[in-house]
Every structure is written in C-alpha cells, then in structure tokens.
Amino acid sequence: MHTFLYKKVGFKAELVGELAGNYSTVVLMFGFAVAAMAPALVISRMLSPRKRSNPVKFLPMECGQVPTGEGRTQFMMQYYAYILMFVVFDVVAIFLYAWGSTILYLPKEATLPIIAFLGIIFAAMAFALSQSDRRKIW
C-alpha cells in the first residue's frame, strides 16, 4: 500500500554540513521565541509600578512566615535511584531507536542481539527497581 515507506529513503546530504541547514530553523524558532518574549518582560518591567521600600517583600515566600533556614537544602533522596536509572535507561531507549528505525531492512535473525541486550537490561532494571523501592536505604 504505502510502499514508498518501505523502500529505504536515501540520505540527502552530499556535502559536509549540508544537513545542518535544516536544523537551523529549530534554532531560529527558539531564537524567535526568545526575541518575542524577552520584550514582554521588559515592557512589563516598564509598565508595572514598583515599590521597593519594604525589604520584607523580597524575602522568599513562606506562607506568611518570615522564612528560616536555607532555601535549597531539601532533597528527595528517596527517589535518587530513579534519576540514576533514568540516565542509564535513557541511553538504552534511544539505542532502541537506532535499531527500530532500521528493522524493516534487516533480516529477522538480526533481532537476536537486541533481544539479548534487552534481556540484560531487563535484569538490571529489575534489580534497580527492587533497590529503588526500598525507601529505608535512601
């Protein structure tokens, strides 16, 4: 049906750096948003009344209390395991994309290494999840 998809679309770049032009639009979009939004803050700063007489105003907000202690100390170490796992499994997930986007052009046996790979990863994941569940040691 949509056979156009199943034939390998050639890679367009002939010259070094030719592809980069495509990506510049994303950067341009980013830049455009910055250029469009930064003035909003500036204009807001110009339009808004400002009273800086009271130093209390610039204290961190803490429910109507004068704040005590450091603002940046608390950490949910209980869930640190998850963030460690994320770093590793993020890599794995994108590795799978390298394989997933080619699978149409590969023989079937080529799936075996991936399955072995996944098996190893699953084992690690099971261990990590069992570890991260134990709230007492974090």
Binding site: E62, G64, Q65, T68, Q74, F75, M76, Q78, Y79, W138
Partner: protein, 378 residues
C-alpha cells in the same frame, strides 16, 4: 522540663542537613487557618507540630460577660456552617440550668435544623477535601449542592449560615408556610446529587490509591487519643452521641450509624458522606413525625438567672461529640463556659498520623481528621 520551651516557630531547629522545616500555613492553600510545622526528610515527614490559635478569639472569656441569651451569637461563630450543632449543647445546658421545658414541635424543628446543618458542614468539609486533593470539581459540586440546604436553612432561620436559631426554651421563629414540601423536594434532590459523588470521587481509583492505607489510626489509638466523630467511627468504634445518649427527639427517629474498620484516610473521608445520606433519612422521618403546629418557644424573662451548679451536655455535631460545660453561680451571666470541641480533640491525632507519612499525604490526612481550625481555636 521546668520551663515552657520557646513557642513553635521561634525555636530554631538544629538538625541534620537532610531535614528541612516547612511552615505549612497560615497563608497556604493546604492549611486552613492554622500552621503545621513539618520537618521533612526528603519526602517523608519526620516531625510535625500543629500550631493552631490563629483564630483564637477568646469566646470562653467573652461568654462570662454576656447573659445566657446574648451569648448565642458569638458561641455559634466557631463553626458558622454548623452553627445549630455547636449551639445545641449550650442551649440544652442552659435549659437544664434554667429549668425550661421545650415543646415537641420545637424539638423536631431543632433536629431538622441540626441535621440540615450537619449536611451543610459536611458538604463544605468535603469541598475542601476535594480541593486539598487537587480535585477542583469536588470543590465545586459539594459547594454548589450545599446551597440547596443553605437555601432551606435560610428560609427557616433568615440567615445563610449564622442562624442564631436555637434559643433556650425553643427556637426563635416558626417554620415558614409551605416549608415541608420545599424541604422534602430539595432534600431528595440533594440526596440524589450526593450519590453521584461516588463515581467521580469515592470510587475514583486515583483517590483510592492515594488515600487508602495512609494515615492509619488503629482502633486502640483512636480510643487512646480520645478522637471522636467520623474519625472514631472510621476506626471501627460505633459511638454516636445521637444513638448512645439521645437528646431531644433522636430516640424516636429511625437512623443508623456508619462504621468502617480500616481507619485510614479513605474511611475517614467516606464516613461523613455516608452520614449525610443518613441525615437525609432523619430529615424525612422528622418531617413526617413532626407535630404540624404548636408553640415553639417558651417565653423567657429578660436576663434569666441560672441555678447554682454545673452541667455538661453533649451532642453529635458534624465533626463528632461536642460537649459544653457550663458553671453557673446564680447570676445572669454564666460563671464559666467551656466548649469541648471535636476539632480540638481530633487535632491530637494529627502528629501521630503524619509522622512517617509522605509529604503528599499531608493534606489528605490532615483534612480527613474532620478538623475545622476556627472551632479548635474558639
């Protein structure tokens, strides 16, 4: 410990780096009118110190300066949306002290008003419970449906929430004409509405997963801490003052009490909801059994003087047993009025339930205690 320690909030915590002290309240969407000082280690609460008193208005002191009737308006202010119930023990006590006999019709009207008020209170509580769980619809629906009953109470008493309706010797005015029909219709619709909360709230899997097995108050602890009302009944103890020590005409009415065993936040939040349906039954029953006419109020002397002695009266309010202890010394003003309010009694459970919980459970556990800060502070 010979001297009292520093008041909460001024004491500086010297602790391990992992511990962070959070002031939850008074300007906090999840605190109501109080402050809870929690110390958290990561996501877990390791210490909790409730700091009420932001609405402490000295009602008990003020009551010593006013006579028995003029005490009514300010004594109902601690729980304005349950004002009939908070006034009830006081009125009963004053009636005993003054030796007044209340007519049958007035008793029924009182029961109807107090049941309506219980629903109004519970709906507001439920609304706030909804918003504490991040469920904005569950704020809006109860807050809206509660207006049906407020409308009834308004027709009855002339004020939306602060009714000042009960008075020693009866009630202040008779029911308006045609009230029974309107009441029946709106209460029936109300009951239909609250049954719909099951789908979106009480059977909602996210809610269940969030509140079940959190903040468990065991049966033993519930007794030991002297909790009351829905908190107690959620822990499996069948104790309802309306049943155990019926006042006015509750012994003639047909209703049950709801008891759940698990004692977690979910059970605590479900009991008031079940109670509301029971209240609807009571109202219908009372409307039927009520004498259709008759006097509703005993004429009082100006500045009545009570007999020497003391009384302690209890009623079941929307939050639990509400006691009133009045000491009289044969003057027009009471010598001492002490309100033993359920919120204050339930507050003691808060540190017990919160320690070891996750921070995310704080609002649900806190509000499931059926706690109204203004009442606790008096």
């Amino acid at each position: 410990m010979s001297t009292p320690t520093l008041p909460p909030g001024l004491a500086i915590q010297k602790a391990d780096e992992r511990i962070m002290t959070l002031n939850v309240g008074p300007q906090h969407p999840g605190s109501g009118h109080m402050r809870i000082i929690v110390q958290i280690d990561g996501d877990y609460i390791v210490a909790c110190d409730p700091d009420p008193g932001y609405v402490h208005r000295g009602e008990e002191k003020m009551a010593e300066y006013r006579n028995y009737v003029l005490n009514i308006p300010h004594l109902e202010r601690p729980v304005i949306h349950d004002s009939c119930n908070i006034l009830y023990p006081y009125v009963l006590g004053v009636e005993e002290l003054l030796g007044l006999e209340v007519s049958e019709r007035a008793k029924y009207v009182r029961v109807i008003a107090s049941e309506l008020n219980r629903c109004v209170y519970t709906m507001y509580w439920l609304a706030i419970y909804g918003i504490f769980l991040g469920h904005s619809t569950m704020f809006m629906w109860p807050a809206g449906d509660r207006e049906l009953l407020i409308d009834l109470l308004e027709k009855m008493t002339g004020a939306r929430v602060t009714h000042s309706y009960f008075i020693p010797g009866g009630i202040r005015n008779d029911l308006p004409a045609n009230f029974e029909d309107v009441c029946l219709r709106q209460v029936n619709y109300f009951e239909k509405r609250i049954k719909e909360y099951a789908d979106i709230f009480y059977d909602n899997p996210i809610l269940i997963s969030r509140t079940e097995k959190t903040g468990i108050l065991t049966r033993e602890n519930a007794i030991r801490l002297g909790t009351t009302g829905s908190v107690l009944r959620a822990s499996g103890i069948d104790y309802d003052v309306r049943k155990k020590e019926p006042y006015d005409v509750y012994d003639e009415l047909d209703f049950q009490t709801n008891v759940l065993k698990s004692g977690d936040s979910y059970a605590r939040s479900k009991i008031p909801w079940l109670d509301m349906m029971e209240s609807c039954r009571i109202i219908r029953d009372a409307l039927q059994k009520m004498p259709k006419s008759g006097s509703v109020r005993v004429k009082l002397k100006p500045n009545p003087k009570g007999a020497i002695g003391s009384v302690y009266k209890r009623v079941e309010s929307g939050r639990g047993a509400l006691g009133c202890y009045i000491v009289s010394d044969k003057k027009a003003e009471p010598y001492r009025v002490k309100l033993s309010v359920p919120s204050f009694r339930n507050l003691i459970a808060l540190p017990h339930l919160l320690i070891g919980e996750k921070l995310g459970n704080m609002p649900s556990v806190y509000w499931s205690l059926n706690y109204w800060p203004v009442e606790a502070d008096r």
